[in-house]
């Protein structure tokens, strides 16, 4: 993993507009938290045409509610329609796109030219963003899609910061890049492992992540190379929190976080950290310094070890996961703040995981962070509890500092 920050590209900062922070939202609650924690836009999946056929995915009614909620924060909602369609998917596409437009969706993220073209024809108010599934790596290909009328391209995850800057220098178009989360180790869209292993169609949302399975690598006449640490294609997850100035100055217009299948806690934690980093940079680029707390926060939500993907160089041995994976962070999501009484200092918490008096917990939100020990605990009628046992149960406890609705609570766990 490259650790040094690139020199200022071309010797100067050539861009100082604030990039969009784009977050995943697997359901309506996650959408609300992503926006509340600082996402400028969120992307979601609908019931069809998306690549996460196992996710909750939004109905049109939920989309409308999500769009309305996001609008209160000035945030937009995008829908991933990023499958490679088969013949039988053509029917129904026009109606689906019109429904998205009517629901107030700002943009679709599409890979298949069928979907790109149809959207431009039938739903002109929907912006069309070219998905990373097209694995677009060069500026002429980006120019092609601009000529087609697309305002934005999500680049392949194989592009480096220097290549991105070169694309921006050659084509006047918005560039979106993944900055955080899990990665296909293949060129996106160029993998049919799932099809071959399980007859599940990876490019229509059926991916079973065979790249993360373990394999024996055989050399003819020698047998398996290593029987302990098996071969895998699985990559560490992407994390660019330590390199925000280089990323911002490369000219990327939208910073995308992966993870429509990730938890509420994950989305809030990661969005919160990047929001703070971007805002800190724009307060004063010259005095910007990485706050170690952002890295710590991100590590508390991490599912896998982290790396910087292709931004600085081609990933090597240290960027893949050959050994058994540790549970990355000794923290668990424990609850969300529903209410707070400043007169008494007691908060009402909706339970999301077991916790009890004496345990170390952390509260965090867009406006603050602190740790404390759980003291006295009651149910919502004031009856004492020796633990918060029930999912979604409302409980009360005294917090050492003021908290706000939608602040989150996590607990430290003993590994």
């Amino acid at each position: 993993m490259a650790t040094e920050v690139l020199p200022r590209l071309k010797g100067k900062r050539h861009r100082l507009e604030r990039p969009e922070l784009l977050a995943p939202a697997g359901n309506l609650e996650k959408l609300k938290y992503a926006v509340h924690y600082g996402a400028d836009a969120v992307y979601i999946g609908g019931q069809k045409y998306g690549l996460r056929s196992n996710a909750d995915n939004f109905t049109f009614d939920e989309m409308r509610e999500g769009v309305e909620f996001a609008a209160r924060y000035g945030a937009k909602v995008f829908v991933a329609t990023n499958i490679y369609a088969h013949n039988e998917d053509i029917e129904g596409l026009e109606d689906y796109l019109r429904e998205l437009e009517a629901a107030g969706i700002a943009a679709i993220i599409a890979a298949d030219p069928l979907i790109v073209e149809t959207a431009m024809r039938v739903s002109p108010k929907l912006e069309v963003h070219l998905s990373t599934q097209q694995s677009t790596l060069n500026w002429q290909a980006v120019q092609f899609w601009k000529n087609e009328g697309l305002p934005r391209v999500v680049l392949g995850r194989e592009t480096s910061l220097e290549q991105i800057a070169e694309i921006k220098a050659n084509v006047d178009i918005e560039i979106e890049a993944f900055i955080h989360g899990a990665m296909c180790s293949s060129f996106s869209g160029r993998c049919v492992l799932s099809n071959h292993f399980t007859d599940r169609d990876s490019n229509r949302g059926g991916c079973c992540q065979s790249c993360r399975w373990k394999y024996d690598l055989h050399v003819p006449e020698q047998g398996a190379v290593d029987e302990e640490d098996l071969f895998t294609m699985g990559s560490k997850d992407l994390c660019m929190i330590e390199h925000m100035p280089a990323l911002i100055e490369s000219g990327v217009d939208s910073f995308k976080i992966e993870g429509r299948m990730k938890s509420l806690h994950y989305v809030a934690t990661v969005v919160n950290a990047y929001r703070q980093a971007i805002d800190t940079y724009f307060e004063n680029p010259d005095s910007y310094e990485l706050n170690p707390a952002w890295v710590e926060e991100i590590n508390k939500a991490a599912n896998r070890p982290l790396n910087t993907g292709f931004f600085f160089d081609t990933p090597g041995a240290e960027d893949h996961i050959y050994e058994a994976e540790d549970k990355a962070a000794p923290y668990d999501f424990a609850g969300v703040v529903m209410d707070y009484d400043p007169a008494t200092g007691w908060a009402t918490i909706q339970q999301r995981n077991h916790f009890k008096p004496g345990q170390e917990i952390e509260f965090f939100g867009p406006e603050g962070f602190f740790k404390q020990i759980v003291g006295e605990l009651t149910d919502d009628q004031g009856e004492p509890l020796n633990a918060a046992r029930h999912p979604l149960q409302l409980v009360r406890l005294r917090t050492e500092h003021p908290v706000r609705p939608m602040d989150m609570m996590r607990k430290r766990i003993n590994k």
Partner: protein
């Protein structure tokens, strides 16, 4: 293009090209790894010109693959490379990246343009999109079934190419995964290291096995385009070739990637005979079981001859 279905092959060398012409190939896809992916062999610009000179007088067409996922750094070379190919007299360019399409359209609109995005050419509307942008042919994704392929042909004016024999790519990464794995093992247990470095090219015979699928061997190799994993079976549609011929598929491809010349020669000859027998009497055509035997005799016993995805339903 003639009404007759084309028998398209790959070639690893000028010598193999000559032998496969003799065996009955109508056309070839060749090229070099600098511009194309997973080619049977390397053809320099001079060798491509020699291939055209060998093929043209016999009515055999030469297509050159420029279907890499292209990075900025490679763009400046493209126009010159395409000029050279056009001057050599090649018939078409195989492309996946829009940058190649734009370059060919700008400078050599007379060249055929075959859209081959491999796994992602999955419906006729998308094929027709590329057709309106200049493509003359598209290559159907190998993960489609017969019904889908026939339906695609019915809904397009473009030539339709279908792979009927050989292995297919199932995973392509820009990462050097084999080298990374070797480096990892060197770091963690230097004492156990086998002598010499792991050699990772396509001729090394490396393969992956998965614990629950002990019968299947997935070839894996690295080249300058990254890491490639290939299917554990070889498609063989000889038995049901008439279904594709009846559907009017324009080009049937035998991919000779990672196969010997003698194997490819045998396969091409068998398909040539089946196609000729079909056209001699389409109504009375019957598959001759014996036609498979020469292929089976040379088939790697660890690799099943299968129908690929032609008769499968996939879920998602």
């Amino acid at each position: 293009m003639s009404k007759r279905t084309e028998l398209l092959c790959t070639a690893a060398s000028l010598d193999e090209l000559e032998r496969l012409i003799a065996a009955g190939a109508d056309a070839f896809v060749i090229g070099e790894t600098r511009y194309g992916m997973r080619l049977a062999g390397e053809f320099s610009e001079a060798q491509i010109a020699a291939a055209v000179a060998m093929a043209k007088p016999r009515g055999v067409r030469i297509y050159v693959s420029i279907n890499n996922l292209i990075e900025n750094e490679r763009l400046p070379e493209l126009p010159g490379y395409i000029d050279t190919l056009a001057a050599a007299g090649v018939d078409a360019i195989v492309f996946g990246d829009p940058a190649v399409l734009m370059t060919v359209r700008a400078s050599h609109p007379e060249l055929g343009l075959h859209w081959n995005a491999e796994m992602t050419s999955t419906n006729y509307a998308t094929a027709n999109f590329w057709g309106r942008r200049g493509a003359t042919r598209f290559v159907v994704a190998r993960e489609l079934n017969m019904d889908q392929i026939v339906e695609m042909k019915q809904h397009t004016e473009l030539q339709v190419e279908v792979q009927v024999h050989g292995m297919t790519n199932i995973y392509h990464s820009k990462r050097y995964l084999l080298q990374s794995y070797a480096d990892h093992n060197r770091t963690t247990k230097p004492a156990d290291l086998p002598p010499g470095q792991l050699v990772t090219g396509k001729d090394q015979g490396l393969f992956l096995m998965e614990a629950e699928r002990p019968e299947e061997r997935f070839p894996i190799f690295e080249d300058s385009n990254g890491t490639h994993v290939m299917s554990s079976d070889d498609i063989c549609m000889l038995e049901n070739l008439h279904e594709l011929l009846e559907a009017g598929i324009d080009s049937l491809k035998i991919d000779g990637f990672m196969k010997s010349t003698i194997y490819n020669e045998t396969v091409v000859r068998a398909y040539r005979q089946a196609i000729d027998a079909y056209y001699a009497d389409p109504a009375g055509y019957q598959f001759d079981e014996a036609a498979l035997e020469p292929i089976q005799a040379l088939q790697d016993p660890d690799r099943e001859l299968s129908f690929g995805f032609f008769y499968k339903e996939q879920v998602y």
